[in-house]
Symmetry: C3
């Protein structure tokens, strides 16, 4: 099943492509590589979801926020390519968690985004190389930020 | 106007390519992709500009330091390619701010570099995908570190 | 001397490819680019080596742990390509140190991995662009995490 068909089957509607908060663009395409800017988690009204994971934000909430970011990254991808079906592979994800210094569960948080990618694209296209790490701080104190590099079909 | 002509018009002289502080090189070219090592901000004498942003370093100072890094990245790019006019696109910038844990303005700081790139290359070549994030610490306590990936004309 | 021959000469046996701790894969190949997932340091029994560098872990221990990660990255590379001799270049390393906020020696720590790469591949293939930075936290409180992008021979 194609990624667009699978998205429909899952009943997922992608959000609007988030407007960058500064002097950059949401994505840049070079040959068959698509570079996606880091995004933060937004609620249904577009408001940013903030707070340190491991303090006021739980691992479960962090997971859900990483999934919301995944939706935003898919929205940027569709905007760049016209259709998610042009994605050849999710190559690399950098998942950044705004966490307290003794936090240990960055991988569980970032799985919110990785699980979404595998649900939508399947194992062959969706599974990716990844680093999931803890930041000292993030813009506006968003709880998570994720960027990605994708391969595009020729 | 070409990037080199624009640089001249702006009255900008690029610094010497910073000597890496450890076992790595300032850039590496693969096909049409140029990977630039992370650089820190240096003053006119080459001294490193240090201190946590949000504590002893203000957002405005951070912005200026990010611009200085941008000059260093342009110097590395010219060294790699012979001329800035061979740049096809700034693809991706990772801007890392050495900030206090409750810092919120990483995007305003990293704009110092992004604004320079857009001034020199124009919107089409210069605007890039980006993440601007807060680190726990940086080498020698430099205030900002920025790395980038560029596309090179065939 | 080829990288595989040099590895033998150095008496190095690579560890098993670490099993990802979450929903991702150890590497992803796209055209001639190989993206390696971030790895942490593991002892001879596969146990994770943890603790903040600059507090309970010294710079020297950090260096040794970065070298252990380098071995894991080489293991992932060989698994991806069949042989290290297919590596055209180590393009870019992102070295992330789980450090205290006033830590300054991230480059000395990450040299543990960079030195290994240069020993095994020689200057021409092994020297790479790099950023070596300090994180707020890392998964399971591992002391160091390193990811890399490599170019593969056609």
């Amino acid at each position: 099943m194609s990624a667009e068909a699978r998205l429909k089957q899952l009943g997922i509607t992608l959000p609007a492509v988030p407007k960058p908060v500064a002097n950059y663009v949401p994505y840049r395409l070079a040959g068959n590589l698509l570079f996606l800017s880091g995004q933060g988690p937004r609620d249904a009204q577009g408001g940013m979801l903030t707070g340190k994971v491991g303090a006021e934000v739980s691992v479960e909430e962090g997971y859900n926020r990483a999934r919301l970011i995944g939706l935003g990254l898919l929205a940027a991808t569709r905007d760049a390519l016209g259709s998610l079906d042009r994605v050849e592979a999710i190559l690399k994800v950098l998942g950044m968690v705004n966490a307290v210094p003794d936090f240990k569960d960055q991988p569980k948080v970032i799985n919110g985004c990785s699980d979404l990618f595998v649900e939508v694209f399947g194992d062959q296209i969706g599974r990716h190389a990844r680093s999931a790490v803890g930041m000292g701080s993030l813009p506006n104190q968003i709880s998570v930020e994720i960027e990605a590099v994708l391969a595009v079909k020729a």
